[in-house]
Symmetry: C2
Subunit: 677 residues, 2 copies
Amino acid sequence: MADKKNLLLLFDHPTEPVFMDKGGNGTVFQIPDSYVTNRYNKICKKVQQRVCSKREQVPVKEIQVPDLSYPMSLGRAEQFSVFLKSHTEMAGHLIEVFVNMPTVDDLQSVAVYARDRVNPVMFNYALSVALLHRPDTKDLNLPAFSQVFPDRFIDSQMFRHMREESFVIDGSDSRNAIVIPVNYTASDLDVEHRLWYFREDMGINLHHWHWHLVYPYEAPIRSIVDKDRRGELFYYMHQQIIARYNAERLSNYMAQVQPFNNFDEPIAEGYFPKMDSTVASRAYPPRFDNTRLRDVERVGQIRVSIDEMKRWRERIYEAIHQGYVLDEDNKKVALDEVKGIDILGNIIEATDLSVNRTLYGNFHNNGHNLIAYAHDPTNKHLEKSGVMGDTTTAMRDPVFYKWHSFVDNLFQEHKRRLPPYSAEDLGFPGICVQGINVESRDQTNMLTTFWQQSDLDMSRGLDFSPRGKVSARFTHLQHSAFTYNVEVENSSEATREGFVRIFLAPMLDERNGIMELEEQRRLMVELDKFVITMPAGQSTHSRKSVDSNVTIPFERTFRNPDDNSPNKAIYDFCGCGWPHHMLVPKGRPEGMRFKLFVMISNYDDDRVVQASECACTDAASYCGLRDSLYPDRKSMGYPFDRQPRQGAQFLENFLTPNMSTVEITITHENRTEKVPE
Amino acid sequence: MADKKNLLLLFDHPTEPVFMDKGGNGTVFQIPDSYVTNRYNKICKKVQQRVCSKREQVPVKEIQVPDLSYPMSLGRAEQFSVFLKSHTEMAGHLIEVFVNMPTVDDLQSVAVYARDRVNPVMFNYALSVALLHRPDTKDLNLPAFSQVFPDRFIDSQMFRHMREESFVIDGSDSRNAIVIPVNYTASDLDVEHRLWYFREDMGINLHHWHWHLVYPYEAPIRSIVDKDRRGELFYYMHQQIIARYNAERLSNYMAQVQPFNNFDEPIAEGYFPKMDSTVASRAYPPRFDNTRLRDVERVGQIRVSIDEMKRWRERIYEAIHQGYVLDEDNKKVALDEVKGIDILGNIIEATDLSVNRTLYGNFHNNGHNLIAYAHDPTNKHLEKSGVMGDTTTAMRDPVFYKWHSFVDNLFQEHKRRLPPYSAEDLGFPGICVQGINVESRDQTNMLTTFWQQSDLDMSRGLDFSPRGKVSARFTHLQHSAFTYNVEVENSSEATREGFVRIFLAPMLDERNGIMELEEQRRLMVELDKFVITMPAGQSTHSRKSVDSNVTIPFERTFRNPDDNSPNKAIYDFCGCGWPHHMLVPKGRPEGMRFKLFVMISNYDDDRVVQASECACTDAASYCGLRDSLYPDRKSMGYPFDRQPRQGAQFLENFLTPNMSTVEITITHENRTEKVPE
């Protein structure tokens, strides 16, 4: 029987022929003759003799291969995109084939056959989804997408340098890491470029890819799409991105992002990704400054017209304002306090769970597409999509935030129609939070951010190059670790369980005035959420920043791919999550004032009973839990998801005794922590 | 003493370190320790031991290297462009250093030192110009630019395929040629794409590069710029490009090209080159449809404002209409029949020979720049120039022809002010051309065009890849060889020498009407020009198409780089010339009607006495002769360079007895001649 770990080798060197050596040790698959593609059918064995270290041969069973002509109809060099329905349908077919193979042996066989025949990115996507959802493979530790397709995450110039390093220098020991420059996509003439470290952060883009991998909007098997509260999570995860982005903008002395709500207006912000797709051998097309959207009409691929986007937008607004949507049978489905946001999320994204795709269309996805093809809307010039057309790259583009800010406005329109939480709703009788502070580097309520360099081996994504490690050196934001201390007075007689929510938001607006809560609540960034046990009387509860419930550990972003230690298992679900190095917004050199907020609610009201224990809980707030219910009964973003109650003009007025807030200062130190040589 | 042929090895693998093996036989330069760049100073020798086949070592003399800090100030990954004054000045410095080295040994030494320190394209350019102009190196056969920098001539996707071929398949024998697709830059939605085979032809683009290499507009040594009638040749060579392009447009049922004369109007024609620069590791930026020009203000690089372009244009028109230009001392210099066009050419291009750069500016070059930076005029997005910014790539872009059509309009404005040639001017008393015909494949006055595939080894431009031949397979236009037969009656008593000029032009305009001569003369494509000796009485003169005076032999475009046979010598001057496979325009499937025109003039009037014999005369009409005078005393384009005389409304009315014309049909056979396997 096949060792299922060999399946992971199929991710290596994604555009090299499947018979080449994999895994860095000269391992080759023993390909049945009938599986070899035409070009290589006479020479495959000879090549394997050259590249294989004899002992490492993986037998491949010869089977009757299912018909793959449908997924094979996408060209190998095309730009696979999950935002294109035609692409996800082809991928869906492939996922079905992979999931339905009776054994790992058969799966390996069909995957080996498919690998050189279908689009390499689609192959990666379909095999990843299948491995995640097959009971016999879901414990496999998938390689990071950034290491298999580094071209989607780093400056195209780095490839020349990495090729030089691996070609000139034999053996990876003396190879240098290739330093990715920090200012390659734009100059200071571009105000938006101040956010390069956020938009172009590898971890953030990986998070976005992972989220959409875990939550596809469409799949051949309904359970893959139909996950607990996935529509609401779509809203909340993206809302939090906008909240975080706006905090970064304020930190950089910029106004909050302007929502893109006028399809007729040129997009002022140009973006030149400076990345080449390995698979397409084409650069990601740029968008010039002031590019105007036009109807996208790419025959056989996609059609999006501006007028239908407007029609869907108006219908969604109408549904929100009427308080119900109409399903396919023209029946009213209420947008209520509990399920309304989830229904809306599925409609707006839109997913297979949309109650009426005919009426409400495919708004969010096609917004991406409309923008992604602005440079060549009719395919006249045979151009691929821009970065907005792919989940691995979309967050690099300033317009992503403008678009999602508008999408969030739709959700907020619904939330604004719900009754505000009353003081009673919010309270936790008997529990009084007496204070919160954070400690970091022996300082109280002072956090620091700085730059850090980290290396990541890119060799398995460097096709047609000599083997051995070749690292790229990233420069990214980092912060000093810190600890929250929450002081609680439990005046009830009994020990109580509390659910602690910690949020952070800027204190001042663009005019340096104290932010009103209705504005500030949308900037509230969830930092953590956890359960504490409070004995009667006073108690202090400490929590480390690294334990955050929204982030994945630093090592999952910049990790060693050969590390298959058990605690790294089930990577792909766990891979979803905000990168820990981006937990707190970049401060200002002179310090920037933030409000830290803590709330303790009654865990009895929030607790969700799960059928089984979940192995991977790192970033549950943004990513949910695998095969489980969302681990919080409250609305996501609670208590800031609705308009504040009458009288709560500022955060201070909003506080009930089970809440507290403190001003903290985040200071950015303009220094770079180097990789130790 | 160094073998000067080793200098040519320095062109190989232009972005690999200089100590790597060159020439395909494991030849390495023995680099003095002090020459090795920092990154490699500890490991250079070890790497050489690995890649060198012992016997092939080229000793390098260690010298006191001149200061190269000025040319080194251009980044290695920058896009070197001869249209940028700052770049040509740096290159000029380097040329001066190369030209002034006392011996080939010293030249080799400084070139080895410079190679890893200056921009690779600038290095190639400067060393090429220097080798061309040094008496001790000018007989060297420079490698084709297309083989050293294939990235400027072919689809970026080919590199992935070539890498695969060279990496997977060991030893070049079993490697396949990589077929370059014919329809990769656009679809049929783009009417302009019908001309792909012309605009994207490697030979045409090489011609353009070579012409500007032979005729730089600026150089540290005046003789490099100040060549006989170079201003006029600038006009004529580009005029002929437009004439040829318009013939191709008519053949493709398209209107003649619209001159780009309104800087305020968006450029309707977008262009997406789909090429990646090897040196910059960046894609050539596209231009979207309907891109508007904006002032270019790239600090430290270039400034061009639309208002100054308009000012220069108006001043040039004013000079033409007044019949004189003003020099730097404010003295009038007449734009007369003999020198006027040459003066204008130098002003408009503009070259170092411009009589007044302050007044007339840098019109043509900055037109290229204005368009080349339309996507990022302020360098806000750190983008390189588009294809219009480089002579190797500019002719791929439809806007090149719009721009040069307008530039040609300026020259025509001057030509229109000159008196028409009278019948006496044009005549050759005693000589009567009784007829002309062409024979091809046993047919008379019927030419055929078709597609042909040709291979070219790209391995010396494939850096950081295993060695050995890797070919790209081009599909290009071709025509069946043909022979002109000219029947002459010499009614004088004596043998006379005649200068035969043969032109071709479409017969019908866009409305299918007979073209008037004033329009047709601008479409007259020079096919050949040669001397014949006519005995008294009747004689027939045959001339083969392959002997054309405007083309270089087919083998110079698709040649074997290792072929150092003597007749390929002095390649670079000879390399200039229209590629022979593009001699005649593509026909229509149903046949297209052309007028073939022949004129015999008195060679005594046209002959130019040269100081010495010139070795390279292949394409003299478009490229002049090396170190010699332009080999024709008449105005370039004669007799069609001026308005026809009164009464010569159609070509037939223009004929004097020493001329003749015949209708020929060019038929395109939509078949492809394959490379024999």
